[in-house]
């Protein structure tokens, strides 16, 4: 970060690199669709969603690291990205620990 920017420092990845990331994203999309048609509930209920989210997170990481240049960004940007997901995790966790521990208000079943 303290070093000086060189003339071709901001070139990141050349066109073959961008096309490679693009290929990963397309394959990921097709894979998402076909995995969704297979019933994975025999592993555990909701396994389909977990696989779909894993692929989505991989695709997101590719877009962020390479298309959005986070890979070559200063630490402060990395911190902003990590903090946003951490905050999101707090929101999900605190909301769900509330909803999952509420009684339904009905005392049957």
């Amino acid at each position: 970060m303290a070093e000086h920017h060189h003339e071709n420092d901001h070139e990141h990845i050349a066109i073959p690199g961008y096309l490679g990331v693009f290929a990963v994203l397309i394959v990921g999309t097709i894979l998402t669709y076909f995995v969704a048609t297979i019933d994975l509930d025999w592993i555990f209920p909701g396994a389909n969603t977990l696989v779909a989210l894993l692929i989505a997170f991989t695709k997101m990481a590719c877009v962020m690291l390479f298309f959005m240049h986070v890979r070559w960004s200063p630490r402060l940007i990395w911190l902003a990205v990590a903090a946003s997901f951490f905050w999101l995790a707090i929101m999900f966790a605190y909301v769900m620990q509330d909803y999952l521990t509420r009684s339904t208000g009905v005392f049957t079943q």
């Binding site: 402060l76 902003a80 769900m96």
Partner: protein, 301 residues
């Protein structure tokens, strides 16, 4: 990082350097951290909707699966690919801005805009389909249709789990009757499936049943929650696409005028960040909205 190290004899300013920054490096870092702060807030903004989705899907998974199965995964998948291609053209726009290649910059901005517009066009086709099938969750906003005399919306006496109303392939003889333009849903077969196999959630055991019997109306209202979330999430995303297209229009003009070169291209890079962010939101919306119950269709249930 260098602070004010200027000599007072001669101060060289790079053409793109704003006066409040000491050098290009500091300017670039400030601009990008500002943009990322905005994107972090956007993540939290969409995060609220994803939280709502999480809460209601965990309560009524089968209603969500039923609603999702009626969405057309072909259009959703096509739009995912369209957005990924537009992300590639956006990345190449930034690449050529860094190279100072004005013509290719302009070409790739136009391509990005074309794919963005294609996305919105597909979205319009989908919303139109919802309008014609009584799937807009607000009463009165669906196509109103008076049935021919004697036509019944729900076949009399048939339990809701045997109705092929809004399943993936509607029966040909099913006639669309909706005099008040209300949200309509007849098929509760997925709730029946979960009941038979014994994996209804506690909320579902209460939320789908009246007097121990599966209640089509109660199930419909849970499917309706899914469609509320579908419209708000994809609608907000589409709004971001429209904002992105306006941004691209401005970018096209300034790029055409030759404002950007190898030393100054931050507006292109920042617009790119926004565009990629909108793409990332869709990467999550596609599986979560379109594909979540797909395996029930293909498992032969």
């Amino acid at each position: 990082m260098s602070t004010h190290g200027h000599s007072d004899k001669f101060v060289y300013h790079e053409p793109g350097l704003q006066h409040q920054f000491s050098d290009m490096e500091q300017q670039e870092e400030s601009v990008s951290i500002g943009m990322w702060m905005f994107l972090v807030q956007e993540i939290m903004f969409f995060g609220g909707l994803f939280t709502a989705y999480l809460v209601f899907r965990s309560k009524y998974p089968m209603a969500f699966a039923a609603g999702s199965n009626h969405l057309d995964a072909f259009w959703g998948g096509l739009n995912t690919i369209v957005l990924i291609v537009s992300s590639l053209t956006m990345a190449l726009t930034v690449y050529y801005a860094q190279k100072g290649n004005r013509n290719l910059q302009v070409i790739f901005i136009i391509l990005t805009m074309l794919f963005g517009a294609t996305f919105l066009g597909v979205k319009a086709i989908e919303y139109n389909d919802k309008y014609h099938h009584g799937l807009v969750p607000i009463a009165g906003l669906n196509l109103r249709a008076k049935g021919t005399a004697g036509a019944e919306q729900h076949p009399e006496g048939k339990p809701c789990w045997e109705v092929a109303g809004h399943s993936a392939e509607p029966a040909a003889e099913h006639q669309y009757v909706n005099p008040k333009g209300e949200f309509e849903w007849a098929d509760c077969s997925l709730a029946k499936l979960a009941q038979d196999e014994g994996y209804l959630t506690t909320a579902e055991q209460i939320g789908y049943f009246s007097n121990g019997e599966l209640d089509g109306n109660k199930f419909r209202d849970k499917v309706r929650i899914f469609y509320y979330l579908y419209f708000v999430m994809t609608g907000l995303h589409a709004l971001h696409m429209i904002v992105g297209l306006l941004l691209m229009t401005w970018l096209l003009w300034t790029a055409y005028k030759g404002y950007y070169n190898a030393d100054y291209y931050m507006p292109v890079e920042m617009s790119g960040l926004y565009w990629h962010f909108v793409d990332i939101v869709w990467i999550f919306l596609f599986p979560l909205l379109y594909l979540l119950g797909r395996h029930f269709l293909h498992a032969g249930h």
